[in-house]
């Protein structure tokens, strides 16, 4: 049976350390844009940790929510792309084909989660940092949209390996960079078509919610949290 990749993020475990953000940058060849560009909101954090403060000092509570591409089943970013650069793969991922992208940025506007990023300049790495680039991931050029791919290179590698070894992909074998780096194991990745996978089981938990579910995007990232916040937006 085909896989259907999904992710579960336990917000009650997330400490907001942002190891996932750093790991994603390293794994996916995301350039740092520099201080000036970052101040102009041009940073490309495929996964970001949103921070919300509740209450007044000294009774402040901070809530962390890692937001990444939700790989929606009814993704609003897909039908609006004129060149099919954003489309739905057979395994349920929202694929972004850099070569097809002509940079209309309509997908970024349509995405309610704001998880799509644009290359405003050609990314550059000062030497010798260019030596650390991941050879499995293409480097995007200026004018192209990019976003979280659920580390599709790792998914493909595991599937190819499993096919070569004539066995199915094991649950937990595929770990996107963010999932792998999380120190509190707040993130779980797995096959939602496999009812035995940890991701499927956690997605059915009583604490599960989806971000902006009311918009009808059918996201495949499930958040676990006791009680809702965000002013009722994701209850």
């Amino acid at each position: 049976m085909t896989h259907r990749w999904g992710m579960v993020i336990d917000l009650d475990r997330c400490t907001g350390c942002e190891a996932c953000v750093v790991a994603c940058h390293a794994e996916n060849n995301i350039a740092t844009v520099g201080e000036q560009e970052a101040s102009r909101s041009r940073a490309k954090h495929w996964i970001r940790v949103e921070r919300y403060y509740e209450g007044e000092f000294p009774d402040v509570k901070v809530k962390f929510q890692p937001v990444l591409c939700q790989q929606c089943d009814a993704a609003p970013c897909e039908p609006v792309c004129p060149t099919f650069a954003s489309y739905h793969t057979a395994e349920g991922l929202n694929g972004q084909i850099y070569n097809r992208c002509i940079g209309t940025r309509y997908c970024a506007n349509a995405c309610p989660y704001n998880v799509r990023f644009f290359n405003f300049y050609n990314p550059a790495w000062d030497k010798p940092l260019d030596l650390q680039l991941n050879p499995d991931v293409s480097v995007r050029s200026v004018g192209v949209m990019e976003k979280c791919t659920f580390c599709v290179q790792r998914i493909k590698a595991a599937e190819i390996q499993a096919a070569a070894e004539k066995r199915p992909v094991k649950d937990g074998e595929i770990q996107p960079a963010c999932v792998e780096s999380c120190p509190t194991s707040a993130m779980v990745f797995g096959d939602l078509n496999d009812p035995e996978s940890e991701a499927s089981r956690l997605a059915n938990s009583r604490r599960s919610t989806k971000l902006l579910a009311e918009l009808g995007t059918r996201p495949k990232v499930t958040y676990l949290q006791r009680g809702s916040w965000h002013g009722g937006e994701n209850s």
Binding site: R100, F118, F120
Partner: protein, 451 residues
Amino acid sequence: MAAKTPEQITDDLLRPLSGISGRYGLGAALLAGVTVAACCAFFYQVYAGLGVSGLRWPVFWGFYITNFVFWIGLSHAGTLISAILRLANARWRRPVTRCAEVITVFALSIGATFPIIHLGRPWLAFWLFPYPSERGIWPNIRSPLLWDFFAINTYLISSVTFLLLPIIPDMALVRDRTTGLKQKIYGLLALGWTGTPKQWHRLETAMHIMAIAVIPVAVSVHSIVSWDFAMAPVPMWHSTIFAPYFVAGAIFSGIAALILAMALLRKFLHLEEYLLPIHFENLGKLLLMMSLLWFYFVFSERLTTWYGNEAGEMPVFWATQHGSYAPLFWAMVFCNFLIPVPILAVKKLRTITGTAVASFTVVVGMWLERFLIIVPSLSHKYLTYSWGTYRPTWVEITITAGTFCGMALLYMIFSKVVPIISIWELKAGQHHARHGARIVQPAEPKEVEAD
């Protein structure tokens, strides 16, 4: 107007075509300068990347799309005035139709460059065209940008034709009045027109068909442009009111642009006896109606949003009413409604100057309206952590200025090359007015011939 002979009319309306004054040359040079600067800014942007603009996460559309929607909207001038007035057989339309059609063609051409200007990789813009590519892929029909492509191209072809068809007899007229190279060029453009009844009948039939065809095309074009926004789940974009709202706004800005163009033409080309106060009066009344209609649409949309009190939409709403976009919002209401309506409603103020002033404020206000539709919504989407701002850079400002100057320049050049008032239509209108409706006489001998 005092009855002018056909020769006088021809002389008056062909006079702008002969020679340019120093003032014209200076004006054209300035406009050309700004237009060239805009082209340079664009090439710089292609070279360095869209980072030179003010666009950023999450406001990915800014000045360029504002200009796109604005200029496409302005291009509704020609269609509605020319086509609807032709179909309604309104007698006062005759000096006005070509001015309007020219605005359409140039505004549409300018507007149609913006989908290319705003692209991240503009050299690949041709991928929007459906052709069998070596990659085996065709464009995505589901995308409103593809609908834009078809609609704008259809409208462009239709409006260019709508402009060029009635120009043919006037090209023949100019051909007969010039010599040398000019005559050769105009002779080429006249297509060998001689004015036989068959040619006239066919031309008029074709124009009638075009007038009927171009109105639904125009309505569809701006509806489709509005759906670039309405199809996305963005707060205050995803609204069913967008298509009628945009079409009404387009007609509104188009009529204003037409009045402005006519006022300027009247002054600079000395067309005081052809572009009469009655024309400005009538167009002024239309503008008044559109201003009220615009207000009705804005009021309906805002009331529904406010009453609905949806969590996603209210931040956008308040940002434009009280927040960071409030100055622009209230300036827009001033320019589109509070200033034009008194001027246009009071007969004493509905003079040529009055309507021109009202039209100028409307053009400014409608540009602001396009901006305020796009940017506040993108700045305040559903996740509050991802709210942002937008500031244009010199690149965007230069390109915007370049479009206005380019439009004026194109218009100036056109008015020097082609009579800006349709001479044959004006004469035909005159003789209809003089002779009234004439019963068609059969071709039979009705007098005794003095042999």
